[in-house]
């Protein structure tokens, strides 16, 4: 059963086609990643789903209900985290929680989640770090035990430890049957928790991928430094393509499986090696031109 069904969604801002006729479905218990570079239309799509923006065309049904016509009823079952914090600066965490509780028929106070996230509810939002604001967003979005979570880049700007905590919480929710629709700019996090991804570019869905397929489209920047002087020629003879000569080493761009390249490098007098995941923009340029 489709929990989220978006059909031919269009949202234009003047001449800019922010979202240009996208359609997709998300099944129960699935974590769907919504990937795309900046300006691809991810946030616009999500804002249309939450009824913050009014679509120009198309329909959005969540749990079988129209996201515009039955918005208030529907939001009893939806948890939402926006791309930027949208909390009241002069309210404390507990004031936000109590306000949301009263709007959700006095649901249970989320003590367990607060403890799990190690969050101080007594501080005002203006005194919280961005990580703690995000924790509060997560608590508020999950405290009423929603059937669907809609998250707009939930880990952006957070330190890796907190990213891990949040991704673990989301993975646990999905195991309980919660459907998660999550936009992201971070390929490794999507690979870690999503079952499937939609790739969005210039307001259109470029492709839909299974995570196993996406992993093949990894792109790495490998920086290698050698004990002994090693020439370009020696590397090329080993079948390694060089992207840049760094003077004391080389930069290599590797597409897909990195293991064959590492195997070749291992046979050479390596002094140091640094492997970086390419950012999404580079991957898009490489695979989704």
């Amino acid at each position: 059963m489709s929990i989220i069904k978006v059909q031919n969604l269009k949202k234009y801002f003047g001449p800019t086609k922010a979202v240009d006729g996208i359609s997709f479905e998300v099944q129960k218990g699935e974590i769907l990643g919504f990937l795309g570079p900046n300006g691809a239309g991810k946030t616009t799509t999500i804002r249309c789903m939450i009824d913050i923006l009014r679509p120009d065309f198309g329909s959005i049904k969540i749990l079988g209900k129209d996201s515009k016509e039955q918005a208030s009823n529907l939001k009893k079952d939806i948890g939402f985290i926006p791309a930027d914090t949208h909390l009241y600066d002069n309210w404390t965490g507990v004031e936000h929680i109590q306000f949301v509780r009263s709007l959700h028929n006095d649901v249970e106070f989320p003590n367990e989640l607060i403890k799990k996230l190690d969050f101080d509810t007594t501080k005002k939002v203006e005194d919280l770090s961005s990580g703690n604001k995000q924790k509060l967003e997560l608590i508020i979005s999950m405290m009423h035990k929603p059937k669907v979570l809609i998250l707009d880049e939930p880990t952006t700007g957070l330190d890796p430890i907190l990213q891990d905590v949040i991704l673990d919480v989301l993975a646990d929710e999905a195991k309980k049957g919660t459907t998660i629709f999550m936009s992201s700019h971070n390929l490794p996090e999507v690979e870690r928790i999503c079952n499937r991804v939609l790739i969005l570019k210039d307001g259109k869905i470029v492709t839909e991928e299974k995570i196993s397929e996406l992993k093949k489209k990894r792109l790495y920047s490998v920086y290698v430094y050698f004990e002994k002087q090693t020439t370009k020629k020696q590397l090329q003879e080993n079948g390694i393509k060089i992207s840049k000569d760094l003077g004391d080493g080389f930069m290599l761009n590797v597409k897909g499986d990195i293991r064959p390249v590492l195997k070749k490098l291992n046979s050479m007098p390596l002094k140091d090696i640094e492997i970086r995941h390419a950012d999404l923009e580079k991957i898009f340029l490489e695979f989704y031109k």
């Binding site: 009824d51 923006l53 009823n73 939806i78 949208h86 600066d89 306000f99 709007l103």
Partner: protein, 271 residues
Amino acid sequence: MFTLIKRTIWIKGKTLLIYCLIAVLFIWMFCAFYPSVQEESEELKELFTHYPEGLFKAVGLEIDKIGNIFGSMESFMATEHYSIMWPLLIIVLVISLGSNFISGEIEKSTMEFLLSQPISRFQIFAGKYISGVILVIIFTIISVFSIIPFAVLYDFDISLKSNLYIGIIGFLFGLSIFSISMMFSCIVSRKGIASMLTTGLVILMYAANVASAFNESAEWLQYLSLFHYYDYNSALIDAVIGGLNVIVFMGTIIISTIVSGVIFLKRDLVK
């Protein structure tokens, strides 16, 4: 929606308290002055006759009624308090409320927070509007009827009917400007612009009312101004509220509210 109203009133409570306190202090000041002003009324009447006529026209006073200013507390308050100070207070209060309620929430992105909760757009708009109405009622009651304890304290008579009428006409005037402020707040996404548009319109209406008093050929301008229908002299001195005044205020409130609601329900609620 009740949760939203309760919360909105609670948040704006501090602002309301400050405005009420200022209004009460003004009332206290005028009440404290009144007995001594009354004693010196003949000298003051004489002094006022030397003032330029235009000055009285600018504040909506008729030159032949100046002699009666000190005849009763109501006429004294009409001239000193309800001509400029009270409308100024309520105008600043309602413009601040109206522009904060919608465009302020959009500007700070807290509108997204509200929209992610199980409340419809209509409930958000109605909740904010009702909160504003309640705040205007509270301000009007406190700022108008705080004269009662001071009348007892300084031992002078007041007309409850006149004060009730100035409360009604003042409330309608304040609510009309609040509704206009909400309308601009629903149209634009910046609190500053919404405030500026409402303030600009209020200044234009005030200028139209003053201009109509100075120039007979521009008399028709007064009918475009809400200040013309805010007839504090009739309400306080004669204990009368004109039917047309109520109709104009109600019309302004209804039309502005309908326009605001329609725009709020249809528009994108992001900056």
